[in-house]
């Protein structure tokens, strides 16, 4: 991991973007504030229509905010046109220039910056090497595969050494295997170039694997910002918990909150310890989440009890769906071994053990 000095590359301050006017007004972004640190791989994650692409477009300069500031190393760039911002974009459709060769595409930004020919040539060669495309420098962009076009798009955006690289769902057009390869490739490029990456995706798995930090967005707002671990294990809101991974929601009575910890009494009558979303003071009743892999199934009495409804085999693990006696549904994920079966059968009466530090109280 590269060092992360406490310097912000981008600061988005109270940015709103409103489309339309009068009755048909839609707030694509609603007073969004977020800071993106120098050198980090930052991901904007959310379902389509959540505002993540709008925020990216505002940073790139393809659109302008209705209100608020966008600071690049302290300087407000919100009113600047795209060609005056030291920020480059990798487009979802790649947007390679079809009438130019691979090398000319990569050199385009430097050429527009008025760099001397020799410098452009050297830098293009360097970029071709970085994305392993030396052999295809003279090809037209229509003559190379989707994965290769992706690499050229990356090289083209990295060539002018932007202060920030914006990536707009760049892997969505690739097939599964190629996408996995490119995820590793992107991490490598970010590490080698030391450029701040802002990555937009709706794929939570992609976000968790690649990012240093993630901002989860919904309906024009940022709900939570944190490391993949924070987002996955300490979701602040129901939307975040639900959008990222699978999880179990339980209603509980809350008592004795202090130092970010509380005691939650579940419907089964068992009281467990739970962590609380940062800065949140829960009321008497709240929703508690437990990830399926943080619970264990037992044939004895557990914290919860119920009946096995369904067993789904996934190769690496098995999901066991339990109907709780309280009426709620609960899923346990159990790592598979080479012994036959998971040890449980449909209709079994089972108990569920919830580990220490496995439960989180949501803000909603």
């Amino acid at each position: 991991m590269p060092d992360k000095p406490d310097r912000n590359a981008i600061e988005v301050v109270n940015v709103s973007k409103i489309f339309g006017s009068g009755e048909g007004q839609v707030a694509a972004l609603d007073k969004v504030s977020v800071s993106i640190r120098e050198n980090e791989f930052f991901t904007l994650l959310g379902p389509s229509g959540c505002g993540k692409t709008t925020l990216l477009r505002l940073i790139a300069g393809f659109d302008f905010p209705t209100a608020g500031e966008i600071l690049l190393y302290g300087q407000d760039i919100a009113p600047l046109p795209p060609f005056k911002r030291p920020v480059n974009t990798v487009f979802q459709s790649y947007a390679l220039f079809p009438h130019m060769t691979v090398a000319d595409n990569i050199g385009f930004g430097l050429e527009m910056l008025g760099k001397p020919k020799a410098e452009i040539k050297a830098r293009v060669a360097e970029m071709l090497k970085l994305v392993k495309m030396e052999a295809l420098a003279g090809r037209r962009t229509a003559q190379i595969s989707g994965g290769q076009q992706q690499r050229v798009a990356l090289a083209r955006a990295l060539a002018p050494q932007p202060k920030v690289l914006l990536l707009d769902e760049p892997l969505s057009a690739l097939d599964y295997k190629l996408r996995k390869e490119m995820q590793i490739e992107l991490k490598r490029l970010q590490h080698e170039t030391g450029i701040t990456f802002i990555f937009v995706t709706h794929d939570q798995e992609e976000a968790l694997t690649m990012s240093d930090r993630i901002a989860v967005m919904s309906s024009g707002k940022i709900l939570q910002v944190g490391s993949p671990w924070d987002i996955y294990d300490k979701p602040a809101e129901r939307f975040v918990a639900d959008f990222i991974g699978e999880t179990n929601f339980l209603t509980a009575a809350i008592s004795g909150t202090s130092n970010g910890k509380t005691r939650a009494t579940l419907k089964s009558g068992t009281t467990i310890e739970a962590t609380v979303a940062e800065g949140f003071q829960p009321k008497d009743n709240a929703t508690v989440v437990v990830r399926p892999e943080h619970a264990k199934l037992t044939k004895d009495k557990g914290d919860l009890s119920g009946t096995v409804e369904n067993i789904v085999y996934f190769g690496t693990d098995t999901h066991i769906h339990v109907q709780l006696d309280s009426g709620e549904a609960f899923t346990v994920r159990q790592q598979n071994t080479r012994s036959a079966g998971c040890g449980f059968e449909r209709g079994d009466k089972v108990g569920i053990l919830i580990g220490n530090d496995a439960a989180q109280v949501l803000r909603d």
Binding site: F83, F91, S93, H99, F108, G109, M112, L113, A157, P160
Partner: protein, 266 residues
């Protein structure tokens, strides 16, 4: 049965198709054939000869009219293509707004207003200007041809622009290209086949015009089509056939070129 339906196998299809082709092409074939007639008749065959081509070539009126046609056609095609390109950019590189449909209609006006109406209107309008300025050169014909060529140049250019990915221009801007550089390095090269197609179409349309030219031209400003029309009034010789044949070959050549240029997509 329904899945095997083919219009080709309907009764009478071959007969109807053959009739259409005969009606379309037989008169032209006859016209071209008699251009090579050694006799002075357009209906009695007197053996093969190139004398009418030679006679047309030596006729200074024909050569004058042809050169005038080319001159007007070339200038009008270039001017109308420039205007059409600007119009196409202005009507596609913008969000839809109220009045845009009206603008499409206004640009395409020459396609809808009967030529005879435009001809009469221009005759009256230009005669005032002629009296006022005293100028009676080719400018009027060029202006008129430019105006009615615009929609023909506009259509292929607009079609090309609409098929162009807007993200390309955005990508250029993202890579530090100013709007002018973006236009020159990205938009224009990608638009070029559309512009060439528009240019050739405009040229052919100008070359072919009779009605508006007939109204607008001053004395001694015959173009090839108006010259031919005048000649026919005085009786037809195979010389007209020879000129028509040469004209036909030229048009076919330009349209073929247009076809290949507009088909070229990268």
């Amino acid at each position: 049965m329904a899945s095997n339906f083919s219009i080709k196998h309907q009764p009478g299809f071959t007969a109807i198709a053959a009739t259409c082709f005969i009606v379309l092409y037989l008169p032209i074939i006859v016209l071209v054939a008699y251009a090579f007639n050694a006799a002075s008749s357009t209906s009695e065959w007197g053996g093969f000869s190139l004398r009418w081509f030679q006679s047309a070539y030596q006729n200074t009126q024909v050569i004058d009219a042809t050169l005038r046609s080319f001159q007007i056609g070339a200038i009008a095609a270039v001017l109308s293509t420039i205007f059409a390109t600007m119009a196409a950019l202005a009507t596609t590189r913008t969000a839809a707004y109220p009045g845009l449909t009206f603008k499409y209609a206004a640009i395409n006006q020459p396609l809808m207003v009967p030529e005879i109406v435009t001809g009469v209107a221009l005759l009256i309008f230009f005669s005032r200007i002629k009296i006022f300025t005293g100028y009676s050169g080719l400018g009027y014909l060029i202006a008129a041809h430019t105006a009615f060529c615009i929609p023909f140049a506009y259509l292929p250019i607009r079609a090309r622009l609409e098929n162009m990915d807007l993200t390309l221009e955005r990508a250029a801007a993202d890579l530090y290209a100013t709007p002018w550089k973006t236009f020159r390095r990205i938009t224009l090269p990608l638009l070029w086949p559309g512009i060439l197609a528009g240019l050739m179409l405009a040229f052919v349309i100008s070359l072919d015009d009779v009605v508006i030219t007939e109204f607008v031209k001053s004395g001694g400003q015959d173009t090839l089509p108006t010259y031919m029309l005048g000649q026919i009034r005085r009786g037809v010789t195979p010389e007209i056939n020879a000129i028509s044949t040469a004209f036909l070959l030229l048009s076919v050549a330009i349209v073929t070129l247009f076809f290949f240029v507009s088909r070229k997509r990268d």
